[in-house]
Symmetry: D2
Subunit: 356 residues, 4 copies
């Protein structure tokens, strides 16, 4: 169950951090879509490790291969098999951690659920699992772009206590703007502060969290379902299914709870050949269904749990131990989270589009 996402545009993934390969089956992609590996690789490249000093030094080129579902350059309507081989895995790095559940990792809970000690490198709980999501998301994104002209862009809007201007959400940057610096915050001044903060944390053998903001423009009105599968509910699930996430808000979010109705309501105004809203506190959805305004949401990522700083914890027998993170890891996952958030947003919207 857990490894399938979506109903009409369905993605099923497999793969551990340190196994032979990761991959996905994308079932339900319509026929006649021009598609090749070149459509998928760019987002995988934005996600892969080793891009900069700010990210883990694991060496993976994450080359994607399409195994089925495409013939003569177009999709057939049949399932698309995707595979990425793991190349640089070092089981040895993690062996020492077998007896001690790493704090705020999934070691303890996987053992509770499966009765197995965690596999090397976090196994399925590793963020490496998101490779398959990003590959599948790139297909969804292309479908949305061609079908509706949807444009999805995410960026790092805060790292620790350093915030990018909130106004960015109203005038979203391009991906090129976002990629202009290694921290993926489109405000150059703020980005410099973020880089500095991450480097400081790294030096302190510590880690930082932050927030990703995502805007989906061009989503037509009418996508989403009205009760349990509201568009915002499915987006929330998609985002909270990502490793290290702790919160989701759409439109006005938590801050909106402090407004009065008369301030918060989005009044309708005439727009081109239709009507739209003067403000967008709703974040592009009403009653679970898109209203044609940009979908705007924010996702909270906790500080990376793996830190090199010594931590006092206990082993499975309750005996005190000191643990120091030794595996390769990101001091701050935010920059690499950007394409992953975009991928999940695309999967949600593609599924909603095919259900409409």
């Amino acid at each position: 169950m857990s490894s399938t996402f979506g109903h009409r545009f369905r993605v099923t993934t497999f793969g551990e951090s340190h196994g032979a390969a990761l991959g996905a089956i994308v079932d339900g992609c319509p026929p006649h879509l021009e598609l090749s590996e070149a459509d998928l690789q760019p987002q995988l490249d934005r996600r892969r490790p080793g891009q900069s000093r700010l990210t883990t030094q694991r060496k993976e080129d994450d080359q994607i291969k399409i195994c089925s579902g495409v013939e003569n350059g177009v999709t057939l309507g049949t399932p698309i098999g995707l595979i990425v081989e793991n190349k640089d895995f070092k089981p040895g790095d993690y062996a020492a951690m077998r007896d001690v559940p790493r704090p705020s990792h999934a070691d303890f809970t996987y053992r509770a659920k499966y009765g197995l000690a965690a596999g090397s490198g976090g196994g399925r709980a590793s963020a490496r699992e998101t490779v398959a999501r990003v590959a599948a998301g790139a297909i969804a994104e292309k479908l949305l772009r061609l079908r509706h002209g949807v444009d999805i862009v995410a960026w790092v809007s805060s790292v620790g206590a350093i915030d990018a201007p909130a106004e960015l959400a109203g005038h979203p940057p391009t991906r090129d703007d976002v990629d202009a610096n290694e921290v993926r915050c489109p405000d150059a001044g703020v980005a410099a502060l973020m880089v500095e903060a991450i480097e400081t944390a790294q030096r302190d053998r510590d880690s930082l969290g932050g927030i990703v903001t995502c805007v989906c423009s061009g989503v037509p009105p009418g996508l989403g379902e009205p009760v349990f599968h509201k568009l915002e509910a499915v987006l929330a699930a998609a985002m909270l299914s990502l490793p290290a996430t702790k919160g989701f808000e759409i439109g006005s979010g938590f801050a909106g709870t402090r407004m009065r109705g008369s301030e918060h309501n989005d009044l309708f105004v005439g727009k081109e050949d239709s009507i739209g809203t003067a403000t967008n506190r709703s974040g592009g959805v009403q009653g679970g269904i898109s209203n044609g305004e940009p979908i705007v949401f924010r996702v909270a990522f906790k500080p990376t749990s793996t830190i090199a700083k010594p931590q006092s914890t206990v082993n499975y027998d309750g005996e005190s131990v000191t643990i120091e993170g030794k595996g390769r890891h990101d001091p701050c996952v935010l920059p690499r989270a950007v394409p992953i958030v975009e991928a999940m947003a695309a999967l949600v919207l593609a599924d909603a589009s095919l259900q409409a």
Copy 2:
């Protein structure tokens, strides 16, 4: 699709605000559970309109009837049919709104999706739809209590800018504590301020939003799924599927993004015959799976969209109109949201428990 929630403990609902009846089918409830209407009615009573001056004056007694799945006082393992009749519905109240989409309601988006003007009283988009959820949730809650000793309690932790002490989450109140006042905030002093704020807004023909905090104690370790259906993801979807919600956070949530990893990590300590964590920034989950600590989350509700204050908007043809909310409505949905949040939490956990 949209009207079914869960996989093993599956709830499917039906019912419009102004139709003959609302109800649900609960499929997957195990056999041998003692069950009668008396188990369901209390939460329905906490949810129903007309409880106090702070809530809508629609008169519904919301009597639940079990139609199947129970024989001789115990469940059979077969689907449980639940029905609540609508009694006090007044289609006329809403007729004037047919040509004008109410701001921040689902009128516009339902028309975009279904091509139909909204039904009287919001139809399926009305919060009245949650009657069926609360009935089903009460079954889930009883199952969880008997199976694991789970205890679920939610309360109003903020109304507008008025916040209850954050410490309550660490020492959750009982439902009796919560119900000690009509606003359902267990801190009496803060509750008084909240009541005053709501009454002021009501006088101003305006509305308020707020936050509900929920704590689920006694959840055993090992519930939840590791990838797309992480327990926090399913909780997030459950909460964002409720009308008027704009945000969800678990454990440290958005505030946690401002900590460093060394502050945020929950170190393990010996606990009774097992191990647990000294802090609970994780909010009871790791990697999508419960860790045995209390599950703590917060849900943001926007200020009620229906307000009596005149609003300048446009009709479907883009012509300027002024609209004044006339239907019966709550100036602040928070007090009645409490049992609804509890119900959805119970549905998520019951489903996870049966999947484990």
Copy 3:
């Protein structure tokens, strides 16, 4: 799980033979379909008990009530709640059977699965459960008729060893033809023999089985899914999900296994503005997808398990006992199976139509 059928046109049912009510939620029916109870009642009337001497004498008028999803005579696109009250249930009739599993009934297997003795009258295993299917199927049928001009007709093509002419499948009768006699075989001469056979069996305190043939005309090409959910696979599941069924065949079926490929292949020929097949050994499907020819299939029903004739069996403790069926029952379920088979065919095709 077990009580939901379909993906896009989804039916979830509830109800025991001797509970307060039975019903269904139909989720996914498109908006704008004219619908009232009058569309559903005719098939319920064809299914209900007490229609003739050949059927059980239980008195149920099976009046259907639509509780939601319809406003001003048209569907809203929201779930349609359906309910039928049980009126004539006599728990006492079955009390004696508590300790003895009735041969070829589900008493033994329900106890194995649920750990409960079977409820009165077979509970959920009773054919009474099909009331909800027939009501939902009538909605599906109307949708298919208006969308595609689909016409579904089933009839009794054999009772015991008495067979109606196979040629009927090539020139299917109307429902009026089928209903011209109480056994629902459109060949009057054969029908008379069937009636006689059933009456003889009844006098002998015994029962008969038989076969229902069903033809779905007007199904457009392209419905169905190519791999696990082939149209014939879903039809097979739908039919084998009916009580008392033991077999399903489509097109040439089992007899076709004795032909050679050159005899069996359906050669293409020009037809009006398209092409079609000269023969229909495929039964209207190729590779899981409809080809525009009539869908023709046959369903085997075993002889009714409840018989008044004494049977030597054992109780749950393995002690020899003699059992005589005392409940009201049909000596041959075939006549009443006709609308049930039609209902399930309609549910399958409506779901396939909405998935296309």
Copy 4:
């Protein structure tokens, strides 16, 4: 949708006949199962082409590779990625058929559904698609054997008009018995006749159909679901989802419709420490749930549609053409269908076992 089978033991497949690879993701396999490629290869070898003169001469060694979900020789509880590379594919063989839908193939219906001419070699509609099912089924089978001692064996019980003795179902052969000859009929005398019949058909550039019988022994009572997902319904869907199948019957099947209830009922008798039935006309299920007796069913396969004999048909424009099958194909699919039927039976039972 179409490419996923099962709910708890879920298999999702991908792969065309002439693409780079085929494969599957098995999600839901419990942890701690010893598993390696050696568990899967034997059934793939029984399925693969080129085993004997009776089967297609396509050369594929069908080596299976496990990509994930297994560490140190045991399953982790995470999804198991499976992949088989295509080696001997010849797109050229099929190019001529682009404009002419092959009679009784899926060319016409795929074009109706997807708007694409069929891919080389039938694409996803090719029986090659079953490679992935057989690999996944071997995992299911191992799970069932270790969990319950289930033993599944299928054999060819008829080819054209040549029938093996029906009594075999009561005393099922072993797989070694079945594999004693190339036609996989455990009665040596009948097998010789079958081989002769297939060779004659082959010489005549024609093809034959037949029936596979399958017996699943050791299935515990209580597996299956009571209403829409009856065990026999899911088995029927599984079998009718296989290419070239036209019918399914369980237990007494179509022949049972000619018996009276008093003959057909399976009377209970004492058996070891429980009770069972004296006869098994039910085929191991009652009311959708296994009763502990062997599950016995039969599957009808039509004669292979691809034949070398010229056939008079029309192209998509309705113009008369003569077509001669040129691709490599089996004159009779029955021998290779045996492990495929076993695989699907295993998938159904594993899923039912995990749902119980």
